[in-house]
């Protein structure tokens, strides 16, 4: 479980995050949603430690990440996996080498076991047979799946996904969503997904936090979102005709 208490983040005079409080539960797909520029990426970067919060606490199963020493942060980061918006695969390495990278760095297993584990992870994301290809030779959807395989290689306790469906077609997006959801359930990870894809929200949103202008505006799940009376949330969620019609049909 990851708990955030009274989190603030400022860049010079500009306050981007204002008093964020949230609980991201284990074994659930937790979604952070919001418009572009609302502060959701900054929130995620604070949670994973790429930014230092101005004020507040970030608790990983009770361990305060903000107050940890550099060495403690390095250790806890080995319990994290992250899927970036751009997949962020190492383009000088093959698919197999990408997935093996965290194992090569931190695993005590011998090479044969590391290769077997990497192949298992690739198989888990339905990419068996693509081991020797390079990131530049595979599609965006496949790159995201390699990123998922790399993220789960060390059996992380916490999985972070920054707009995992960005740049993907709706069908591939569903595949990625399902994969993240099933892996979260299977490995009982605490998963946080940063998205503004409404299909993801409606499909896998077990715990949703809506960020607006740097504040937590609403919290609930995919069922509660349909009946929410929060005007800002509704104007964001039901901005498209399709979702407006879905809401009208439901009501």
């Amino acid at each position: 479980m990851i708990e955030i208490k009274h989190l603030y983040k400022s860049f010079e005079d500009r306050e981007v995050l204002k008093d964020i409080n949230a609980i991201f539960e284990e074994g659930k797909t937790n979604l952070i949603i919001g418009q572009s520029g609302s502060g959701k990426t900054v929130l995620m970067k604070n949670i994973v430690g790429l930014f230092e919060p101005t004020q507040g606490e970030i608790l990983y199963d009770g361990r305060d990440f903000v107050k940890m020493t550099k060495h403690e942060k390095v250790l806890i980061r080995r319990e994290m996996g992250m899927i970036f918006q751009s997949a962020a695969l190492f383009d000088s390495m093959s698919v197999l080498e990408n997935v093996m990278f965290p194992l090569d760095m931190f695993s005590d297993k011998n090479e044969a076991d590391r290769i077997a584990r990497a192949k298992f992870c690739l198989d888990r994301v339905n990419l068996a047979g693509a081991e020797n290809k390079f990131p530049g030779e595979i599609s965006g959807g496949m790159q995201k799946r390699v990123a998922i395989a790399r993220a789960i290689a060390l059996n992380p306790k916490y999985l972070f996904c920054d707009e995992p469906n960005s740049g993907l077609d709706p069908k591939t997006s569903l595949v990625i969503d399902d994969l993240i959801h099933s892996i979260t359930d299977e490995y009982k990870m605490t998963t946080i997904i940063n998205t503004h894809d409404m299909n993801s929200v409606m499909g896998i949103g077990e715990n949703i936090i809506y960020i607006c202008e740097g504040r937590k505006e609403w919290e609930g799940n995919k069922n509660q979102i349909m009946t929410s009376t929060n005007e800002r949330l509704n104007s964001f969620i039901f901005a498209s005709d399709l979702f407006r019609k879905v809401k009208e049909a439901n009501s």
Binding site: Q85, A88, F90, M105
Partner: protein
């Protein structure tokens, strides 16, 4: 993993530069020899002047300083653009999230790799330069015997070591300055290009300044 990275950098930064070092040094060696023979040598000077001057230019300055200036263009832009692209495509963030010290993982093997390879490239450059000088002798610009006597005249082994020590310092400048510019890139492809250019300009300037201080210090 570090050893793997180190060997990769030895190949990428050093071995892949051998071709251009040999090519440039060969032709510059030949041209220096021709220029000196045609424009400086006179009946008042000994016949070995051409070979002697060619050797001194190649050993004292060209193979260390000028070759490193050329390599700062090739290797420096390579380092800055590679690390800069990794920064803007979040590959460095991915390393940090995994708990890897990205600066140590990416930059240290490059600095050590280049510092290992550049003294070797300097030796190759000297050899290729002398090869170029002999090539000009073979086409009759200067006699082979005079050139050989000139190349051997008043030879001081320290000059070779001096050249290698200088190149060792220049290698550190190229790798560290370029890595710094690449690592601190913010933005997109335009900024990577700018960082790459800045890396080459700044490392070239620093090499020239370092040369000014190192030459009297080591002579």
């Amino acid at each position: 993993m570090f050893l793997k990275q180190y060997i990769k950098e030895l190949t990428q930064l050093g071995v892949d530069s051998i071709g251009i070092v040999l090519l440039i040094s060969f032709f510059i060696g030949a041209v220096i020899c021709i220029q000196i023979k045609l424009n400086i040598a006179s009946p008042w000077m000994p016949n070995f002047t051409t070979g002697y001057t060619t050797r001194e230019i190649m050993v004292l300055e060209f193979s260390s300083s000028i070759m490193c200036l050329i390599l700062s263009g090739k290797v420096g832009s390579n380092i800055a653009s590679e690390i800069g692209t990794m920064r803007v495509t979040q590959q460095i963030d991915a390393l940090e999230i995994m708990g890897v010290n990205s600066a140590s993982f990416l930059i240290l093997p490059k600095i050590l790799g280049l510092m290992t390879m550049i003294p070797c490239l300097v030796v190759f450059s000297m050899a290729a330069g002398f090869g170029g000088a002999y090539a000009s002798a073979l086409v009759g610009i200067v006699s082979v015997d005079d050139l050989t006597i000139g190349l051997q005249h008043d030879f001081r082994q320290w000059f070779i070591w001096m050249s290698m020590i200088k190149s060792f310092v220049f290698a550190f400048i190229i790798a560290s300055v370029s890595s710094f510019y690449g690592y601190t890139v913010e933005g997109g492809s335009f900024d990577v290009g700018k960082a790459s250019t800045d890396a080459v300009v700044r490392s070239s300037m620093l090499i020239l300044f370092a040369d000014i201080f190192l030459t009297p210090l080591l002579s």
